[in-house]
């Protein structure tokens, strides 16, 4: 395949991959003013518990919740580990002791998308299958070291053309793993797109140890043209 065609294929894959990489019942959406493409689970939790009001790059964030519904329930379960009553009690304790304010709570996915799209720094959650126009989707990375062991690892093929040209680098991937250990989806977070294509193909064949829940990890794969 010619280099140009390969690049176009890789670019098309990159456009598709964000859809394939969506995991779980809920996805995190943010105002396009935020530069980050991913967020750690612990940082997401800290933002919604008002322990921090900015991302690691200093960008201010405003958490937006839903009042009720399947996306709200899924978000609380997957990322905050609290019931709605517990979360409301938490916020009200902050409000009535002068340590926080009540976050914006909206009635539906559509309202969340509309608010996040027009509000600088806003970050919210919607159902995975909800169309999200005007906002960006953030991949959520499990915090800390990979808690799931790799049982079967397939090494990516180094595109010969790039190797001969001495083109290498680090490819960063968001890998979603099912409880059974299968790789459900892979999204390219950073790095050369052609190297990324090769990495994605290989990582999709990885098998992890069985776990209690679906998680998303950040995986880095180095491509070194010098053997």
């Amino acid at each position: 395949m010619k280099r140009r065609t390969r690049f176009l294929v890789a670019s098309a894959l990159m456009m598709l991959l964000p859809r394939l990489a969506l995991a779980g019942d809920v996805k995190i959406v943010a105002n396009p003013s935020l530069k980050a493409d991913s967020i750690s689970a612990s940082e997401l939790k800290s933002i919604f518990l008002q322990e921090k009001s900015s991302l690691g790059d200093g960008a201010h964030v405003e958490p937006v919740l839903e009042k009720r519904g399947p996306a709200h329930e899924a978000f609380l379960r997957e990322y905050l580990d609290r019931s709605d009553d517990s979360l409301q009690t938490y916020y009200r304790a902050l409000v009535f002791t002068g340590r926080g304010s009540m976050p914006k709570a909206l009635g539906s996915d559509a309202e969340v998308v509309a608010y996040v799209a027009r509000t600088r720094g806003a970050i919210g959650y919607i159902r995975t299958d909800t169309i999200a126009e005007g906002v960006k989707t953030l991949f959520v990375i499990a915090a800390g070291n990979a808690p799931r062991k790799i049982v079967t690892r397939v090494e990516p093929q180094y595109p010969e053309t790039l190797r001969k040209l001495g083109i290498g680098g680090i490819v960063r991937l968001a890998v979603t793993i099912s409880p059974k250990g299968n790789v459900e989806s892979v999204a390219l977070l950073g790095g050369n797109p052609i190297l990324g294509e090769s990495a994605v193909i290989a990582v999709k064949r990885w098998i992890y140890a069985v776990g209690s829940s679906r998680i998303t990890l950040e995986v880095t794969i180095p491509f070194d043209p010098v053997p």
């Binding site: 921090k52 002791t97 304010s101």
Partner: protein, 411 residues
């Protein structure tokens, strides 16, 4: 007149609760949030009168409410204030006060500062003890959170540093608070009321307060443990009618603390609909009266264990066992008037309370609680513990059963 206005306002809030939600408005392009709460309680006791009320006849002198406004002036700067008013029998007496007024700047998740009149972090519930709507119980365990001594620990005028630190290797996270400031008690507090039985009438009581809190969200899901310490340097000014010379009228009275500290250790476990709390408090207060004519020491050891379970969406049941024991000692020329109390098995030196409660959430804003207390002891001593001689002129009975019904509203 003031009480009638307050009662009318509370009735309106209840009547309009369906229409009242947290309000926010824009002021100079900043969003200002307004929140409020109110509660009304009723207590009936079968024997001793409780909380300076005539509860043996049934009493509804158990009301409080608060209103706050706050706004984020910048991404990291929050300012706000809350006004609070209450009546608990002879305490409070509907004298509104500034509950808190804070400027809070959070530099990072691990470091922030707040200053002004700040709620004091001590144990699980000191800073939220007025917020009845947050918990299943109508009354917090009185051994550790005495409602009549709210002023002693509720807030300080000063500053805090605080933060949350995540630990690596999935070891959870720490939250810390360190503070220093000034405490100033209302003259309608329990301590002042107790002193009035000895013809001591305070015009001021307070002083330096400093301490810290450290809590650990452990790797075990739902388990929090922590410890708090508070030190205080207190002084009070009062006027006094001497029992040796009652015709002499009022003479000056002052007391100064030699030691006043509290250690508190706590744990909380939440698993689904179940919550279990436990706390231990050791409180020591030693002071000198009028330069040494009397010095007293009160040593309180208290603890409780509580459990609550959300049976249905709108129904929570709970129970706790609370133990309070006090020993006292006195020295100086007037010591003979205050014999030492060291036997905590006597009902005069303890209050053991078994409690069962049910909470019904009528909607997101309004709840009702019905609670039974079965108390052994009355803790009649130099330190307030809920039972006051002024309301128990016939003397104390060893046991008290109480029915508490309370409704609260918040928005």
């Amino acid at each position: 007149m003031h009480r009638r206005i307050v009662e009318a306002a509370i009735v309106c809030l209840w009547a309009c609760q369906g229409a009242v939600q947290a309000q926010e408005f824009k002021l100079f392009d900043k969003t200002v949030q307004v929140h409020g709460f109110a509660s009304q309680g009723f207590i009936y006791t079968n024997d001793n009168n409780w909380f300076t009320m005539n509860t043996s006849q049934g009493s509804a002198a158990f009301t409080d409410f608060g209103l706050n406004m706050s706004s984020h002036l910048t991404d990291k700067l929050l300012v706000g204030a809350q006004v609070y008013d209450r009546n608990l029998g002879q305490l409070g007496q509907y004298h509104p006060s500034l509950d808190w007024a804070v400027a809070d700047y959070r530099f990072k998740s691990w470091f922030g500062v707040r200053g002004g009149k700040v709620k004091t972090t001590l144990g699980l519930y000191n800073d939220t003890q007025d917020l009845d709507f947050l918990r299943p119980f109508a009354l917090l365990p009185q051994s550790v959170y005495p409602a009549d001594l709210r002023d002693a620990t509720i807030a300080h005028v000063g500053g805090d540093i605080y933060g949350n630190i995540s630990l690596t290797h999935h070891l959870g996270d720490f939250s810390y608070t360190a503070y220093a400031g000034h405490r100033s008690d209302s003259i309608y507090s329990g301590f002042n009321y107790l002193a009035s039985q000895f013809q001591v009438f305070y015009s001021s009581y307070g002083g330096l307060q400093y301490g810290g809190d450290l809590r650990w969200n452990t790797p075990l899901k739902g388990l929090l443990i922590g410890a708090s310490r508070i030190n205080q340097d207190l002084s009070g000014k009062a006027k006094f009618i001497s029992p040796y010379n009652p015709a002499g009228g009022f003479v000056p009275y002052s007391d100064t603390s030699k030691a006043d500290w509290t250690n508190q250790f706590y744990g909380e476990y939440i698993a689904g609909k179940l919550q279990i709390d436990s706390e231990y408090r050791r409180f020591l207060h030693s002071d000198i009266v009028n330069g040494g004519i009397l010095d007293t020491t009160d040593d309180v050891r208290a603890w409780y264990v509580s459990g609550a379970y959300r049976v249905a969406k709108r129904l929570t049941i709970g129970s706790y066992y609370s133990r309070y024991a006090i020993t006292t000692a006195a020295g100086g020329p007037l010591a003979a008037l205050f014999p030492a109390q060291t036997d905590t098995s006597l009902p005069a030196n303890h209050v053991y309370d078994k409690v069962i409660t049910g909470r019904v959430d009528l909607n997101r804003f309004w709840n009702v609680k019905v609670e039974g207390h079965f108390m052994d002891g009355y803790g009649d001593s130099l330190y307030p513990d809920g039972f006051y001689p002024q309301q128990n002129l016939q003397g104390f009975k060893p046991n008290t059963n109480a029915l508490v019904v309370k409704t609260s509203f918040s928005f």
